[in-house]
C-alpha cells in the first residue's frame, strides 16, 4: 500500500497551554472556548497544515492518538469522582473521541468523513491502512492527524504507554495531507498489513537502501531514536524525513511483532 504526501505539519514539545490557546485566538482567530489542551493541540497542528496547503471541504479527516484526550479525563475524574461535583456538559462532550475531530474539522472547513480511531499497537501505521482503503473507495484526499498530549504528572500517560519510568515523554501533533495520486506530492509512504517477526524485520534492516530508524520499543534492534517519546512518533519521523528530503524506514515493535513504514522524499 502506498500513499502520496501532499503536505505536512508538525509541532512537538512540552506545551504551554495558555500560549497555545492564545496563538489559536490571535493568529488564527479561532474560538477556543469549551475546549481543552488536547483539542487545542489538535486544532493548532491542523492550522499549521492549512498554512501550507489547500484544504478541500471534501477531504476526509482521520485523527488518531496513543490514548486520546487525557486532559479532560484527568480533570473530570478529579472533580466528579473525587470531589463529587456535577459533570459540566462540555467536559462530558469533550470526553467523546470525535469531539476533537469535530473541532479540527470546523477549523479546516471540512464537511466530509471524520473518524477518530485508536489502534492499541501501531496506531499511526494502522490508521494509514484505514486511510488507504478509505481513499481506495472514495477516490478523495485525506488529512491524517496524530495527536499525543503529555499532561502533568507525566506518570499518568507513562503508565499506559508501556515505557520505563525514567523515559521522557512529550506532547506532539503531526499532520499529513494524503492522496492516492502523485500530483504535487512531496513524498510517499509505503506500508502493509503484515506483522513481521524478528527474523523478517532483520532482513528488512539488512536490505535497507536508506537510513533505518527504530522505535525505543524495538529493544532487540539497535535503537537510534533517543528523543522524548510519544505514541504516534512514527508520524513525526515521517514528517522529519519529508522535511529534510531524506528517505527512511521507521520500524516499530509491539510484543515481538514488528511493523514498518518506508518514506521516500521527492527531490
Amino acid at each position: 500500500m502506498k500513499l502520496y504526501v501532499k503536505a505536512i505539519s508538525s509541532f512537538s514539545g512540552d506545551i504551554d497551554a495558555k500560549a497555545l490557546k492564545g496563538e489559536l485566538k490571535t493568529k488564527y482567530s479561532l474560538d477556543t472556548r469549551r475546549q481543552d489542551s488536547f483539542i487545542h493541540l489538535a486544532v493548532y497542528g491542523a492550522q499549521l497544515l492549512k498554512d501550507k496547503t489547500e484544504i478541500s471541504p471534501l477531504d476526509e479527516l482521520f485523527i488518531t492518538s496513543g490514548v486520546g484526550n487525557i486532559d479532560v479525563l484527568q480533570r473530570t475524574n478529579k472533580y466528579v469522582c473525587e470531589e463529587k461535583d456535577f459533570i459540566k456538559p462540555f467536559d462530558f462532550i469533550n470526553m467523546l473521541g470525535n469531539t476533537t475531530s469535530y473541532y479540527v474539522s470546523v477549523s479546516l472547513g471540512l464537511r466530509d468523513k471524520n473518524i477518530f480511531e485508536i489502534s492499541n499497537r501501531f496506531t499511526y501505521i494502522n490508521t494509514l491502512i484505514s486511510v488507504f482503503t478509505s481513499l481506495n473507495s472514495s477516490k478523495k484526499d485525506a488529512i491524517l492527524g496524530a495527536i499525543d498530549l503529555a499532561t502533568n504528572p507525566k506518570e499518568v500517560i507513562k503508565r499506559v504507554l508501556g515505557v520505563d519510568e525514567e523515559v521522557d515523554v512529550t506532547s506532539s501533533v503531526n499532520y499529513q495531507k494524503l492522496s492516492l495520486k502523485s500530483k504535487d506530492a512531496i513524498g510517499e509512504i509505503e506500508f502493509d498489513m503484515k506483522f513481521y517477526t524478528y527474523d523478517e524485520i532483520l532482513s528488512v534492516v539488512e536490505n535497507a537502501q536508506c537510513k533505518v530508524i527504530t522505535s525505543m520499543r524495538c529493544t532487540k534492534l539497535k535503537n537510534n531514536n533517543t528523543g522524548a517519546y510519544f505514541e504516534t512518533i512514527p508520524s513525526s519521523f515521517v514528517n522529519q524525513a519529508l522535511q529534510n528530503k531524506t528517505d527512511i524506514i521507521y520500524i516499530d515493535c509491539f510484543e515481538e511483532r514488528y511493523k514498518f513504514v518506508k518514506v521516500s522524499a521527492f527531490r
Binding site: 462530558f92 467523546l96 504528572p153
Partner: protein, 375 residues
C-alpha cells in the same frame, strides 16, 4: 472493489441474547430497569435498559462481554479464516485503562507502584484478537452514536480493497456513571419512556448492549451495499431543525450505492426521542422521501446504546427481517408531522433494501444501505 456481505450477527441486550431480543420485539414485551444519576441538586432514578446481570465498568468485565460475542461470531470460522479476520470495535466508552492510570498516580490514597503496559481503548480488541487467533490488526472507532456503524464502513473498506477476507465488527456500551451524568447534565434523558417522533417525546433512555456482525467477501443473502459518513452540523450537539445535514448524508448514501428512494423497502431511523434530533430527522425524511415511505425505530426496545447502536440496530433489523417482519415503532401516538408516521404495526417482509441512519454528537452523521436477496 469487492462486494461485502453480512455473514453472521449476534447481540446481547437488556432483553437477552439474539433470540430473546427478537422475541421481545415480536411480542412487544420489554423489560426496563432503573439507575441513579446526578442532577444539579440531587440524585434521581431514571429508566435504563440494563443487562439482566449487573455489569461493571471494570476493564475485565468490559473485556468479557466483548469477548463472549466475538467468540460466538468467530466460531463459524476455521483457524485459517480467523487468521485473516480483523477486529473492529465501535464505542463511546470512557477508557477505563486511562482512568486507572489517573487514579493510581494522582490520588495519594489510591497510589500504586509504577507499572507500565501499553493500554488504550483498543486494548480490548487487541487482547481478544490475540486470544482467539484473529489477525493482529485491530481498530477502535469513537465517533459517539455513529461509532460502530463507522467501524462497519471502515471494515467494509478493508475487505472491499482485498486487504483481508473477513472482519468482525463489535458495538459495545455498558453503564457508565460519567456518561449517564453527562446526558443528565444536558437534560436529554426521559424520566419515563422513549416516544420516537411523537409530539410528546421528552428524551432518550440509555441502554447497555454489545453486538457484533461478521463481514466477508463470501456471498450471503445479506449484502452491505455501502453508505456515507460525514461531519456536518450546526454545532457540536445538533444539526439544523430543518434537517438539511441529515438529508445530505441520506442522499449521498443512496447515490454511492446506486439506490433510489423507490428501491428502499424500509428505513431504520436513528430516533433518539429527543426534541431536537427527532425534529431534524423527520424533516430530513420528509425532504427525501414521499409520505408512503416505511420508517421505523428500534431504540424503545433496547434503549439508546450510544456507540453500540450502529451494529446493534443493524443486527436487530436483520434478525426481524430474517424472521419475516419489519418491527413496528412502539410508544408512538401522534407524529411531529401528520403525513409522516412511523410504522405502527409489525409488517410482513422477507427481503428488500433497507436504510439505517445514525446521527451523533460531534456532527457525525452516517447512513448505510443493506440488501437481502433470498437465494
Amino acid at each position: 472493489m469487492h462486494s461485502v456481505y453480512i455473514l453472521d450477527y449476534k447481540v446481547k441486550t437488556s432483553q437477552g441474547d439474539t433470540k430473546q431480543t427478537l422475541k421481545a420485539i415480536k411480542d412487544t414485551d420489554i423489560d426496563i430497569s432503573y439507575k441513579e444519576v446526578s442532577t444539579l441538586n440531587e440524585s434521581v432514578k431514571i429508566p435504563y435498559y440494563l443487562f439482566e446481570e449487573k455489569s461493571s465498568e471494570s476493564v475485565s468485565a468490559i473485556k468479557k462481554i466483548i469477548k463472549d460475542i466475538v467468540i460466538q461470531i468467530a466460531k463459524t470460522l476455521s483457524d485459517e479464516q480467523k487468521a485473516d479476520t480483523v477486529l473492529f470495535v465501535g464505542t463511546s466508552l470512557v477508557d477505563t485503562h486511562l482512568v486507572e492510570a489517573v487514579e493510581s498516580t494522582v490520588y495519594d490514597y489510591k497510589k500504586k507502584p509504577y507499572t507500565s503496559a501499553k493500554k488504550s481503548i483498543d486494548s480490548f480488541a487487541c487482547e481478544i484478537s490475540d486470544e482467539l487467533g484473529l489477525h493482529p490488526y485491530t481498530m477502535t472507532i469513537s465517533t459517539a452514536c455513529t461509532s460502530s456503524m463507522n467501524a462497519l464502513l471502515e471494515a467494509k473498506n478493508l475487505i472491499g480493497s482485498g486487504v483481508v477476507k473477513h472482519a468482525i465488527v463489535i458495538g459495545v456500551e455498558v453503564f457508565s456513571q460519567m456518561m449517564s451524568d453527562g446526558f443528565s447534565s444536558m437534560k436529554l434523558l426521559s424520566g419515563s419512556i422513549q416516544k420516537p417522533f411523537d409530539i410528546s417525546r421528552d428524551g432518550l433512555v440509555l441502554g447497555e448492549a454489545v453486538a457484533g456482525v461478521l463481514l466477508g467477501s463470501d456471498t450471503s443473502e445479506w449484502s452491505l451495499l455501502g453508505g456515507y459518513s460525514n461531519c456536518n452540523s450546526l454545532n457540536i450537539t445538533s444539526v439544523s431543525p430543518q434537517g438539511d445535514e441529515y438529508a445530505e448524508v441520506i442522499n449521498r448514501a443512496m447515490e454511492l450505492c446506486n439506490v433510489k428512494t423507490d428501491d428502499i423497502t424500509a428505513i431504520k431511523a436513528h430516533a433518539t426521542s429527543t426534541l431536537t434530533n427527532d425534529l431534524s430527522e423527520i424533516n430530513a425524511i420528509k425532504k427525501v422521501f414521499s409520505p408512503d415511505v416505511v420508517f421505523t425505530t428500534l431504540k424503545p426496545y433496547v434503549g439508546h446504546t450510544l456507540g453500540a447502536c450502529g451494529v446493534l440496530e443493524l443486527a436487530m433489523l436483520i434478525s426481524c427481517i430474517d424472521d419475516g417482519f419489519i418491527p413496528k415503532t412502539i410508544n408512538h401516538e401522534k407524529s411531529i408531522i401528520d403525513e409522516y408516521v412511523p410504522l405502527l404495526n409489525h409488517k410482513p417482509c422477507e427481503d428488500g433494501t433497507f436504510m439505517l441512519n445514525y446521527f451523533g454528537f460531534g456532527g457525525n452523521n452516517t447512513s448505510v444501505l443493506v440488501k437481502k436477496e433470498i437465494r
